[in-house]
């Protein structure tokens, strides 16, 4: 027996060989938090959505898709979230491109760009109202200068929500894009230049293909943030009509009609729609080159 035992490495070593050792205990707090704060509420909500106040198991979902007032919130939300995400991601590319090297005033500009993240949606909405409202600075100036004879409708409509999503979402997508871009070895573009590629060709053939997988991730995260828009749709939007987004519908069901089951169903549908969009983007990402980009990561 002892001979056999000594021939085989100790159990602890064999487990360690498969990546099982005491450091795995470090995962416990994270797993607990995930289980308590995400998994449990999610599963609870899921089962709740299949237990409607009246009707069969799928009654909530049938009601959502049967009622244009509810169903159309999907398109309203996508109509705000997709353009906002596209604007954020596309605008961050050129700015990050300029900012990735050593630029004078880089830190100041980065700080200014990042401040909106720290402000939170409510403060941003407040600022937007003061600045862009009918009696805000912008409209006052425009009226005084005679550029417009009546205030531009910038808030309490679609534009207001879009502006709010861009202000709060852009810094986030900018920072992500900047970090992906910094991970691309600058000597690749230099090499392309010595091979005869001009600035446009260098961007199109070298930088963009290497950046695209990162842009896909940036797009997904920005989209998720924009899709769950609620405060700005309420505060600077037109929550009864133009910006009646899906989260407002969920809120309405849960906290005004006190139909938690229906609210859960809408929330589940939100998740499904987000997953569909993310799935599509990630499927596209799967067709791209995703290996090393040679930079400092």
């Amino acid at each position: 027996m002892t001979a056999v035992a000594s021939a085989r490495p100790a159990l602890r070593h064999r487990l360690a060989e498969r990546g099982i050792d005491r450091t795995l205990l470090l995962l416990v707090p994270g797993l607990l938090v995930t289980a308590c704060l995400f998994l449990y509420p999610f599963l609870y909500g899921l089962q709740l959505s299949f237990a409607p106040r009246q009707g069969g198991v799928f009654a909530n979902y049938a009601r959502f898709f049967g009622d244009p007032y509810l169903r159309d919130t999907i398109w309203t939300t996508l109509g705000i979230a997709l353009p906002a995400t596209f604007i954020n991601v596309l605008a961050s590319i050129p700015i990050a491109y300029v900012m990735r090297g050593r630029v004078r005033g880089k830190r100041l500009l980065t700080t200014i760009l990042v401040v909106p993240i720290t402000l939170g949606t409510v403060l941003t909405a407040q600022g937007l109202i003061m600045y862009g409202g009918p009696a805000g600075w912008l409209n006052k100036v425009l009226t005084v200068l005679g550029i417009t004879d009546q205030p531009l409708p910038l808030i309490h409509n679609y534009t207001g929500v879009l502006l709010s999503l861009v202000i709060t979402g852009f810094p986030f997508s900018f920072l992500l894009t900047l970090s992906y871009l910094s991970g691309i070895d600058p000597s690749l573009e230099k090499a392309a230049a010595t091979l005869g590629a001009n600035a446009v060709q260098r961007f199109r053939r070298i930088t963009l293909p290497l950046l695209a997988p990162g842009l896909a991730i940036t797009f997904c995260l920005s989209f998720v943030m924009a899709f769950s828009v609620f405060p700005s749709a309420q505060l600077v939007g037109d929550p009864a009509n133009e910006t009646r987004v899906i989260s407002i519908a969920a809120y309405h069901a849960a906290f005004e009609e006190y139909d938690y089951s229906m609210g859960s169903a809408v929330a589940m549908l939100m998740a499904v729609i987000m997953l569909i969009v993310i799935g599509l983007v990630m499927a596209w990402r799967g067709t791209l080159y995703r290996g090393a980009t040679g930079g400092k990561g």
Binding site: S187, K190, A191, G291
Partner: protein, 349 residues
């Protein structure tokens, strides 16, 4: 594009108040292989980037015969460049990497294919054409980088320490490969390195740089045998650099003394008196009695180098002396060594 001469005329580059390169004058003939040699921070890579057009000059000009080219962006200059980290496009196959320049130049598909095949055959990577850079070894990646640069048959190929990321054995192989390519294609090459052995073995002409200034320009033989100052000497393997004092000078020779030694050597600094730096190669010492410039040393450290030993010893005054010998010495031994006067170079300090 053929030309007779690539000329650098007072090429300077400063970064803020730091001068990375000060007034580099250099004329390179077509087909020549020139190595820029120096330690890191000597301005050799700056010079190369200026030549490629990746770095604008802050002074001077660059000429290809009668055409001034320092205002042209790199894509118009069309010099091939091999980067230290290879800079292969990771999202493209080997074939696409090599063909990239041809594509940018709108070379037809059949022609492009033929030239890529030829370049790949030249660097012996034909069977790896469909692979991606990440699937290749360091040496293979380097070959792709070279093929990518030479497939365009550029007027000038610039190489920025291309071998420094390879292991010793591979470095020797690739060195020969680069030499062979230069002999086959005859492309004008500017090669940057900090390794004097690499520079000596590859180049037709060497440019030794120090803190942005040219120290010496010459053939490998000239720079190796006739370094112009103690800095170049130290770079060319003159490991013994002694601070001594000139006590006499007669014609081409000088006598130096100090630290209990008295040596006669070649006066390379037109010195008559005062401090001097004396440079002697370890392999120029001979062990035994009766040699010129005899010294008594005590052996401290012995390194085995196959046929020879590399010995670190001390004079009675404590001054270290390095020499090579095929005699079997051991630490603690005392030995008499000497060196011919013409192998002792006396420079200004």
């Amino acid at each position: 594009m053929t030309f007779e001469q690539l000329r650098l005329d007072g090429v300077s580059r400063s970064f803020g108040s730091a001068n990375a390169l000060r007034g580099l004058d250099l004329a390179i003939a077509r087909g020549e292989f020139v190595a820029l040699l120096g330690p890191s921070g000597c301005g050799k890579s700056t010079a190369l980037n200026c030549l490629a057009g990746l770095l604008p000059l802050t002074g001077g000009s660059i000429w290809l015969d009668d055409a001034r080219i320092d205002g042209q962006p790199p894509e118009q200059r069309g010099f091939g460049m091999v980067f230290q980290n290879y800079a292969l496009f990771p999202h493209m196959s080997v074939r696409a990497n090599v063909g990239f320049g041809l594509k940018m130049r709108k070379v037809g598909r059949a022609e492009s294919r033929r030239r890529v095949d030829e370049a790949l055959r030249l660097v012996q990577l034909t069977e790896h054409a469909a692979k991606f850079p990440a699937q290749l070894s360091g040496g293979q990646q380097q070959r792709v980088a070279i093929a990518r640069a030479v497939v365009l048959e550029p007027p000038v190929v610039l190489m920025d320490e291309p071998l420094s990321n390879l292991d010793a054995k591979l470095r020797l192989e690739m060195r020969m490969e680069i030499r062979r390519l230069h002999q086959t294609l005859g492309l004008t090459t500017v090669y940057v390195t900090h390794d004097q052995e690499e520079a000596l073995s590859l180049a037709d002409r060497l440019v030794v740089l120090r803190e942005g200034e040219v120290q010496q320009i010459g053939t490998p033989e000239e720079v190796y045998a006739q370094p112009v100052n103690s800095y170049v000497a130290s770079f060319m393997g003159y490991r013994n650099l002694l601070d001594l004092t000139v006590t006499g000078a007669a014609g081409p020779s000088a006598t130096v003394e100090g630290a209990g030694v008295r040596l006669t050597g070649a006066n390379r600094g037109s010195l008559t008196e005062g401090p001097a730096k004396v440079a002697i190669r370890p392999e120029d010492f001979v062990v035994g009695d009766g040699a010129e410039n005899a010294l008594d040393v005590t052996v401290e450290i012995v390194e085995y180098h196959g046929r020879e030993l590399s010995v670190s010893a001390r004079l009675a005054s404590g001054l270290p002396v390095y020499f090579r010998t095929d005699k079997r010495l051991a630490p603690g031994d005392t030995a008499k060594i000497g060196v011919p006067a013409e192998r002792v170079l006396v420079f200004a300090p």
